[in-house]
Chain length 220, copies 2
């Protein structure tokens, strides 16, 4: 376990997570209108509510640390919005895969950095992780969809690759611009090793993403 990151890095981390939750909420509620029936629409709305509850907790922690949630989120608005603009789902299946992929990447990213943050922040992050079980809803929907239409699997596999590619590209962008956050990602070692450390983390996240896709039957 590395040394605990400084306040600036923690605020960066909380800021990017908070804006990630806020925009995931926004997108999911827009996507809910693509749901094929009222039951699925309501299910997706419930998941979206979990995201916003995480947002509330993250914003409260930012205030506890003497930060301002809006100021903490602002540096990450452009990268997160770009990710969503480039990955707008056009079918219900794409909505579901985006939930599983996004939720999985976020949870893995949380785990990567949890060791380097103070204890209160870590508890908050672990709580957010625990709720991520909700992507079970989306997984069940994907299984049902592929069972009904096996040819959908190939299209959704491609979609999964595109999602992770865009996520990586935006993460690299953010890491290059935010030294404090990049330092936290590589465990506070800083220096020239920073970008290499970020690349190693991205490689671990990608491995876990591929494993999840295989489990979903979206492996090729």
């Amino acid at each position: 376990m590395g040394e605990v990151a400084d306040r600036e890095a923690i605020l960066d981390l909380l800021g990017v997570l908070a804006y990630g939750e806020l925009s995931a909420f926004d997108r999911m509620t827009a996507d809910a209108r693509r749901a094929p029936d009222l039951l699925l629409r309501a299910g997706l709305a419930e998941i979206a509510a979990v995201e916003i509850n995480h947002y509330v907790e993250l914003a409260a922690r930012i205030r506890e640390l003497g930060g301002d949630p809006v100021a903490a989120m602002t540096p990450f608005v452009s990268a997160v919005d770009t990710f969503h603009r480039r990955t707008e789902p056009s079918t219900w299946g794409e909505v579901l895969v985006k939930i599983v992929v996004g939720d999985g990447l976020a949870a893995d990213f949380y785990r990567e950095v949890a060791a380097f943050v103070d204890q209160d922040t870590r508890h908050l992050v672990e709580h957010a992780l625990a709720d991520s079980e909700l992507s079970a809803f989306a997984e069940a929907g994907i299984h049902a969809l592929i069972a009904a239409e096996p040819s959908a699997a190939a299209r959704l596999s491609l979609w999964g690759r595109r999602l992770v590619g865009e996520a990586i590209s935006q993460t690299q962008q953010v890491a290059a611009e935010r030294d404090a956050l990049a330092g936290l990602i590589i465990g506070g070692r800083g220096g020239n090793g920073g970008l290499a450390g970020v690349a190693a983390m991205i490689s671990r996240l990608t491995d876990r993403h591929l494993r999840r896709m295989t489990e979903l039957g979206l492996s090729n």
Copy 2:
């Protein structure tokens, strides 16, 4: 206090409230994109999350009573959707007034029927009422808006009248079609007095709406 309504009427009531919350959630999250800054956008998202938490509780109560949430909501989808389609806000001020008006009408309607439902349902309804304090967020926004631009008050007053007019029109439609719910509204008396009882309730709701608009400085 009237006699406790029958199961069919309670399921109708829970169904219309549940779909009301679900669609309020949908609309608010769409409206959040009109927020002038990230702080207000996040504030609106938090309010929307409260609506969806109410939805979850109402759906759980429907299941407890042996009903199915989707079946209970379906008869009310058309009326509620028509209301929202006809009252789509085009400015941030209209978004805020719609929250206050909608929240106020919903809370008053809850109070009207609470006396006639079983105790568990009443507790649930009272809990939903307590959270409605969140419209304080919207009220503060309206006050700030009118202070900055006094001429906005006249336009928003008109908007408030249009909202309540559309709400009344859809409520009458629903009451005419759903005998069980209409019976509950008038306290289980039923018979020919039904529509007159509904009209009397609408008149009380309108009075309280006008009082709220006056308090907001939107009185003419």
